[in-house]
Symmetry: C2
Subunit: 365 residues, 2 copies
């Protein structure tokens, strides 16, 4: 077995190779709607755009969000930049008030970028542990009092869980009462199998979203944030005018055309994802793995003994890429993305089954 | 006259309107080479790219930089993100060594984003004042000893000056001796009227560059950093994997085609810029303004009495956009970008001349 650090790099790059099956990277495998490419042949733009984002795109988004105008949005280089700018801007606002080490509440397991983003921005992370992949309101309430900001991610990467609407409403209330910012990462809002998305609302809510998952535009990098907190939006725009300026104007124009795609596109996509979800969930249950049924997004996070051995052995000996739960704050689990064809999911599951049976048989007790 | 804050916003947005002449924004007005658009009709990409940047683009750049491989580059959302990531990464590296408030040396006047970027990243800014738009080696040497990083920008925005090669070599030596990072912002490297660009070299040099000025691709947002400091490059990639992920793959592909454009394109551009430079420099000298002769980039920074009144009056009463020198650390000056047609430059200069003559005549002594 090679060096695990190098292997990690290879896995992240997404080594394909002959017969490689990747449950690794969280990106849709199906192409974006064809409308997205229709503007390209005649495209001639090259000048700076507004730092806040192109007006046509923000106006289209304003029609999707209640009580909004184009002024409530900032278009960003993917949801990643929206999260980074929101965290940095909150830290900047707090710093001006003399608060140099504010606390940020994370629900654990968390998306693996949250922890570094929170630390880069100068926050001290505080954790509330999910139970069965869901927020425990009592623990949340106890921990949040000390914090200036909380990150919510429903549907969640990596758990695949969707929070109950009552929980989300309770979170709205307590954070509003305490004047705490919520960053609500809703990038999987159009990939929910159990209900419609519930948009978190409140005076200090910052909703993070993206064209990456809904429209399979990951590499094009168009995300956005939405907030009715005008001080925050102003701070984000000012910061972005120095840290990256406008998001690429051609990618924004492609994103704008995505907003004109009929809703039936999303319905069709959801059917594909749901079939895959059923396949991997039932397949893993049949293998005997302990996992939560995914309600949204496209991940499962089964509990697996000796997860590090599992991940490296599957990669090096069985050509299956999976991600260590540890990277997501879940050290006894392994993350599988099911953004791949059903026949590949089946073959991948078969390899996992063979490996686990073999390991169980030959293990020194 | 309206509220000056609103006016600033209007000026930055680049209000055109009938008869408006903008010496404001620093963006080329001539379109990019047509090769840049040739890939668009058949473009079908959508998946994540490497966070470090597309391989074809980094390999093309490696052929332009001495002792380089594709590994020495990170492709970014314009030079802005390259600067931001480099500063944050250096601050992060220093923080791990227990240095929580490192100092960064800036040459004043400076590009207006430098100061906020330095502050956002947690540095304390230190200034060395340029004399006749040039670094004074003795003052530089005295100030730099205390710093962990220094920002060099030759050709300079806003001064239009190019540093002497001996000065740059002296800076290389002293920073190398002291183990100090140089961030060398060379985005105007292909717009120098007096000599070839001198690429700053050294173990801790981070060169910032962009396709925005050379190829008029400002709004598409493709920049990069180059460094032989592997710890720094690694830290930047790790950080970018969380803060924005890959730079838009379609914009990178357009930038790649720009690298295939024959050198004659740049030569032709340079002739256009040089004619404009001569026109504005001689025109301002004829008006009697005190300014430095631009040696690169496309800005002049004349000394103007009561610069705030000048900027607002020219905007509101004479439809001429200029930027306050104060935004660039030069409170007794005004910045003019000459990225516009010669007939507009002439008309703009005529308006400035009329205004200044009128003001001189009616001024209360």
């Amino acid at each position: 077995m090679g060096d695990r650090k190098e292997l990690t790099a290879a896995m992240f790059i997404g080594v394909r190779g002959d017969g490689m099956i990747s449950f690794g990277s969280g990106q849709p495998d199906l192409p974006p709607p064809r409308e997205v490419y229709q503007i390209l042949p005649d495209y001639t733009g090259f000048k700076y755009g507004l730092v806040q984002g192109q007006e046509n795109l923000r106006e289209a988004l304003a029609r999707q969000y209640p009580r909004s105008t184009a002024e409530s949005f900032v278009i960003t280089n993917g949801a990643s930049e929206a999260l980074d700018l929101a965290l940095r801007s909150i830290a900047w606002i707090r710093q001006k008030k003399g608060d140099h080490r504010p606390k940020c509440l994370l629900c654990r397991p968390y998306y693996y970028s949250y922890l570094p983003l929170v630390r880069y921005a100068g926050f001290e992370p505080v954790f509330t542990d999910l139970v069965d992949g869901r927020i425990v309101p009592e623990d949340f309430q106890a921990k949040v009092r000390d914090c200036r900001v909380v990150l919510i991610n429903s549907p969640s990467n990596p758990t695949g869980r969707v929070e109950a609407i009552e929980t989300l409403k309770a979170i709205e209330k307590i954070t509003e009462d305490l004047g705490i910012y919520i960053l609500s990462d809703e990038v999987y809002k159009d990939l929910i199998y159990v209900r419609e998305n519930y948009l978190l609302k409140g005076p200090h809510v910052v909703t993070i979203n993206s064209f990456s998952k809904t429209f399979a535009m990951t590499g094009l990098r168009v995300g956005y944030l939405w907030s009715l907190d005008t001080e925050l939006v102003r701070t984000v725009i000012e910061m972005k005018s120095h840290t990256s300026m406008n998001t690429s104007i051609i990618a924004q124009e492609m994103a704008y055309t995505a907003t004109t795609v009929p809703k039936s596109y999303m319905d069709e996509q959801l059917k594909v994802w749901e079939a895959r979800r059923d396949l991997i969930y039932e397949g893993m249950a049949a293998i005997g793995l302990d996992l939560w049924k995914p309600e949204g997004a496209f991940y499962v996070l089964p509990r697996i003994e000796d997860p590090a051995d599992f991940v490296w052995d599957m990669f090096t000996d069985h050509k299956v890429i999976t991600y260590l739960g540890e990277w997501f704050g879940a050290p006894d689990r392994v993350r599988f993305s099911y953004a791949l064809d059903v026949d590949k999911i089946e073959e991948g599951l078969a390899r996992v089954d063979r490996y686990l049976k073999h390991r169980a048989k030959h293990r020194v007790k």
